[in-house]
Symmetry: C2
């Protein structure tokens, strides 16, 4: 059998790693992942052959995982969060697609049995740490314009604003990109008030977690780095303060009444 | 201490329940949940006082959970999926908010320590079972018009279509609602081709799971019930067939090339 597990390990807290993800890693002889992700998992990675590749080598990481599995090494391709959300899973299927279309020369990939195991994504970890920010319709938008033109992203933010979705921005800034988040904020300010609650969640559920609740009007890219999730409430989201504890939640609907 | 755990237990597969969720249930003396969710969890629920309320009694379920915790019974309010996504978590904070605003008469609720534990949502389970449908920007839309007027929902679907988001419909139909899903389909057909892949995932990751890959043109509410997740790809999503195995994935971007 040739087997590839495609595994998401959640936001960071080992207690949020699904048993199924842990079992897949345990069953594998070879792991393809950033070292950092594996450090968070602990003992289960001991004794495995660990294949690392520099950041930015995403497609080669997916190729390597398929190659290893095709060579009959049970392999786990691992990422933090949900590997199906802005992550490696889609690259595996993009490569299979290319092989099926005759654009690759790896028919052996087609024999690999693939099992995708989802994980808890950053937006979910962030929402849970401050209450229930994702209580009603929401969307995610990646601000990376590496593979999607900025005009498309801009249009999408416009639609998300007009549709009054709660919005989580993935890849909000990078070393080379610093202006997109403020541009996104300015678009959203056309649709919802400056007082709209915003979550900045950095290193969520990890030891050095920091959580800031701010507002759309105060949102500034200078307060955000590549380890930060930015989630913007909808027009009904509420920031409440109970003594020393703060919460943000988005009501289930728009009628503002507590019926069933 | 008065403690309330607000716990999501994932789509159904016991192997997808986070250890943190299981530990919270174990630490509780009282569970507030539908019986069905607890059956999936097995032994960990043994010996707990189980409080059930009929479907439709959501707000009373949240009240009961706060009341029990305030009475110093360590309590877990439990739902399947992610309890922060279209589920009970937001009702707990809505009640706290009302108390802080003086619209309730339960100051004891404000002493309850609340810990929200996220879970894997149906859209993630569905995407993973067919590949990587959530590989790029996506949104969720609830088709229930109980608390949100249909005009708002309609506008939101329009925005989701125009923004070319992958869309997961929650509450796609119910016994009393059967026409909204087809109306949603017709809106989306203005923006993306009839060949767009659509996932119908029923009872995802459970014993009686059924998964159907269809197209937006073929999507029909008659094939969907209240246990079904409906996820519609974006204009770039691909349905690929490798022998007896089918996959759906959404590429990372719009440039249609495999660069990093």
């Amino acid at each position: 059998m040739t087997k590839l597990f495609v595994v998401g390990t959640g936001p960071g807290d080992a207690e949020l790693v699904a048993p199924k993800a842990r079992a897949a890693i345990k069953a594998s002889t070879d792991l393809v992942a950033y070292g950092l992700y594996l450090d968070l998992l602990g003992d289960v990675c001991d004794g495995k052959v660990h294949h690392d590749l520099p950041l930015g080598e995403e497609i080669n990481r997916a190729r390597l995982a398929l190659d290893l599995a095709a060579a009959r090494k049970t392999t786990a391709l691992v990422s933090s969060g949900d590997i199906g959300i802005y992550a490696m899973a889609t690259l595996v299927f993009e490569l299979l697609d290319r092989q099926l279309e005759g654009q690759e020369t790896h028919p052996e990939w087609l024999d690999v049995e693939i099992d995708v195991i989802p994980g808890i994504s950053a937006m979910q970890a962030g929402a849970s740490r401050v209450g229930a920010l994702l209580g009603h319709d929401f969307c995610t938008v990646s601000l990376s314009d590496l593979l999607t033109p900025w005009e498309t992203i801009e249009q999408r933010i416009h639609c998300a604003g007009k549709g009054d979705f709660v919005i989580s921005f993935y890849n909000p800034v990078s070393k080379k990109r610093d202006w997109q988040l403020n541009a996104a904020r300015d678009i959203l300010l056309q649709f919802r008030p400056a007082s709209t609650p915003v979550l900045l969640g950095r290193q969520l559920t990890r030891e050095d977690e920091s959580i800031t609740i701010t507002t759309l009007g105060e949102l500034d890219a200078k307060d955000v780095d590549m380890f930060t999730l930015v989630s913007v409430g909808n027009s009904e989201s509420r920031h409440i303060v109970n003594g020393t504890k703060e919460w943000v939640y988005t009501p289930r609907g728009y009628k503002k009444k507590l019926s069933n």
